[in-house]
């Protein structure tokens, strides 16, 4: 039973991290630039959810469409301010400009909401918690299950957007080859702004999902951008399925590695078992796994291999 319990926790955490990493990859593909403000957009989404919850007293699920719209507008603004004027400059200029956006968001949140941790409303209900459910001998919070469901729906919706809509096809064309997309008449600049909007909307959704359970403070973004970056490196630079797989792997390390002695009691016989399976060592192991993946598959788990013809 503990295995199933841990699986629910991994899926809930990994699904939310996946949304963060997805937004990161979308912008990476569309512009070739790393958006270092993606983590701070997650934080901004968390605070927008807190503000909406305070004013409207509605469950997170009801607030989600409005939150997505607000965050999409913020993403478009970030594109217009921090990317479009610099798109012809070297990539470092965009790195710096998105870092600057992140710092502005952090300090803006500090000014508007203060520095103390706050919690967004749960997806279902408006109280501080969301209740528990029991199934198959597992106790899971309603919020965790709702996070998995909402993240899965958002990822499916994103897939539908890319595959079944003209807008999505144009976004993909822009991501694959901007010059050719421009040559065939696709409004590339608008597509890039649209990509920033979609990425920020995903970040906002992640912010709502994460900030109910794990709270939000103005400095939360730093942790999320690091996880998104690692997820993308693990999954394959620019790979959408890879980003989700990478996010799930991070969540698995955070949840399962420290619990290994519970899953496999024989491990308790190891000398200093508590030390070896502590949260700290779990972080070290995750990063060793990242190094191993980079060594064995430099393009990541889902990255296309690079080869030279003989």
């Amino acid at each position: 039973m503990i295995g199933l319990q841990l699986l629910v926790q991994v899926l809930a955490l990994g699904a939310a991290y996946g949304l963060v990493a997805l937004g990161f990859v979308l912008i990476l593909n569309a512009t070739g630039a790393v958006n270092f403000s993606q983590g701070d957009l997650v934080m901004a989404g968390g605070f927008v959810a807190v503000a909406l919850g305070d004013r409207l007293h509605l469950p997170g699920l009801v607030l989600l469409p409005l939150l997505i719209a607000i965050m999409a507008a913020l993403g478009a603004a970030v594109a217009l301010v921090a990317y479009m004027p610099l798109r012809a400059r070297p990539p470092e200029a965009v790195f710096i400009s998105t870092i600057a956006v992140g710092i502005i968001l952090q300090n803006g949140a500090n000014r508007l909401f203060g520095a103390e941790p706050l919690a967004a409303p749960p997806l279902l209900g408006v109280g501080p918690g969301g209740g528990q459910v029991r199934f198959a001998g597992v106790t899971a919070s309603v919020q965790s299950l709702a996070i998995i469901a909402v993240a899965a729906l958002l990822i499916a919706a994103l897939h539908g957007l890319f595959v079944h809509t003209q807008f999505g096809r144009r976004l993909r064309a822009t991501a694959q080859d901007r010059e050719v997309a421009m040559a065939v008449g696709i409004p590339v600049d608008r597509m890039i702004v649209g990509t920033f909007a979609v990425a920020a909307a995903l970040a906002g959704a992640a912010g709502l999902l994460l900030s109910n359970v794990f709270f939000v403070v103005p400095t939360s973004g730093g942790d999320y951008i690091l996880k998104a970056y690692i997820a993308v490196v693990i999954g394959g630079w620019g790979s959408i399925p890879g980003a989700i797989a990478g996010a799930l792997l991070i969540a698995a390390f955070e949840v399962i590695y420290p619990s290994l002695p519970l899953l496999l009691p024989a491990l308790n016989a190891l000398p200093d078992s508590d030390g070896w399976f502590s949260q700290t060592v779990s972080t070290v192991m995750l990063n060793l796994a990242v190094l191993l993946i980079l060594f064995v598959r430099p393009r990541g788990l889902f990255g296309e291999p690079i080869g030279q013809r003989p």
Binding site: N107, G114, A115, E116, P117, F214, F215, V255, Q279
Partner: protein, 379 residues
């Protein structure tokens, strides 16, 4: 005739002006800059520190009219050093309300020594009062005091014998964990489980499940505010059912606001003081003034910094005219503050008391379960 009428008026005006001039001459105007982190990862605690100082500076004792500016030090040592140098360039301060961040304090200490300016702080970093610097005064109980109280209460109230100790990997967490182990060891108790968590750890269930599997009969925590709330939420969801004595992170009203009161039923925490528990009329007045001024509940950092700033202002009111006299007063006199009576142990540690607060599962305001006073020369 007209001159006769004017004469008394002119005389009266002269008397008023003379009295005003004498009163002005008798008013002390110490310069007390407030250099605290109000942005960055310590912004919540730094904000409390600033608010406590401002409450004292805006309502000083009679005969004192302090000059002050608030400067955000951020969280880098450079930010603190720049802020202190800028404050010094504005004129010699009588005292400086200095950052509670240990790394910033360590960077400011040499400047304070060179300029002979006392720093009053809430920093818990042990090293700042171990460097032999006579210009540092800490108004928050050291880890040895609060952790000593935490262990004593756990033994007295819950008769613990097999505790699990869960701390943070930060300097705050490690220092507190070491003191917890020391205090437990002094009582002949060895923890059955220990873990240190990075502040980014989100899922607390694995660590709680391992503590339970190790046979722990209680949890002793030394976690920052957010992780404390995360862990207590997880413990409630798991129906852990073990006595928990948390660190001061829980005693901050903003932490409790993240939790349903039922989730912390029976949970206790150590802290230097708990102003919102307001045991005395003076404390109730402080809480009311704080709420009116800042629209929030005060925590122990706000109260400690208020007491520290008031001790400096009282010293000025009693004739301490410059930084040297204020330093001497801080080093040699005791001050009955709202939270406790403060007196230096010879190293600048001014606070030697701690309280244990407990939550009843209904109200977010804790009740003070026990006071612990430690002699100034103990630990």
């Amino acid at each position: 005739m007209r001159a006769n009428r004017l004469l008394p008026s002119a005389f009266f005006l002269g008397v008023v002006l003379l009295a005003g001039w004498r009163a002005l001459a008798a008013t002390a105007t110490p310069n007390i800059p407030v250099l605290v982190p109000i942005t960055g990862f310590l912004a919540a605690e730094g904000g409390s520190q600033r608010n406590g100082a401002l409450l004292a500076l805006r309502d000083p004792p009679a005969g004192v009219r302090p000059q002050f500016n608030v400067t955000d030090t951020g969280t880098s040592p450079e930010g603190a050093v720049n802020a202190l140098e800028r404050a010094l360039s504005d004129g010699q301060p009588s005292a400086v309300v200095a950052s509670m961040l240990g790394t910033q304090m360590l960077a400011m200490l040499p400047i304070a020594l060179e300029e002979k300016v006392p720093l009053i702080t809430m920093s818990g970093t042990a090293d700042i009062t171990r460097k032999g610097n006579p210009y540092v005064f800490r108004f928050f109980p050291t880890d040895s005091v609060v952790k000593g109280a935490q262990v004593r209460y756990a033994i007295d109230a819950f008769h613990i014998a097999r505790p699990a100790v869960i701390a943070q990997t930060t300097a705050y967490g490690q220092s507190g964990q070491a003191e917890l182990i020391k205090a437990l060891s002094a009582a002949g108790i060895t923890p059955v489980y220990q873990d240190a968590l990075d502040v980014s750890v989100k899922d607390m269930r694995p660590v709680l499940a391992k503590a339970r599997a190790a046979g722990a009969d209680s949890l002793l925590l030394q976690l920052h505010a957010g992780p404390t709330a995360l862990l207590l939420k997880a413990a409630a969801a798991m129906n852990l059912g073990l006595p928990i004595v948390a660190g001061s992170g829980l005693a901050q009203p903003s932490t409790v606001a993240l939790l349903d009161p039922a989730e912390i039923k029976g949970v206790c925490a150590e802290t230097g003081s708990s102003p919102i528990s307001a045991e005395t009329p003076a404390m109730q007045s402080f809480v009311a003034r704080y709420r009116a001024a800042f629209g929030a509940d005060p925590d122990g950092f706000a109260l400690g910094q208020y007491d520290a700033t008031m001790m400096v202002l009282q010293a000025v009111a009693h004739g301490a005219g410059d930084a040297a006299a204020v330093t001497k007063a801080l080093a040699s006199e005791s001050y009955p503050g709202l939270a406790m009576t403060y007196a230096s142990d010879g190293h600048g540690n001014m606070a030697h008391s701690a309280v244990i607060v407990c939550y009843d599962g209904v109200s977010p305001i804790p009740k003070i379960a026990r006071h612990y006073d430690f002699p100034a020369d103990s630990p």
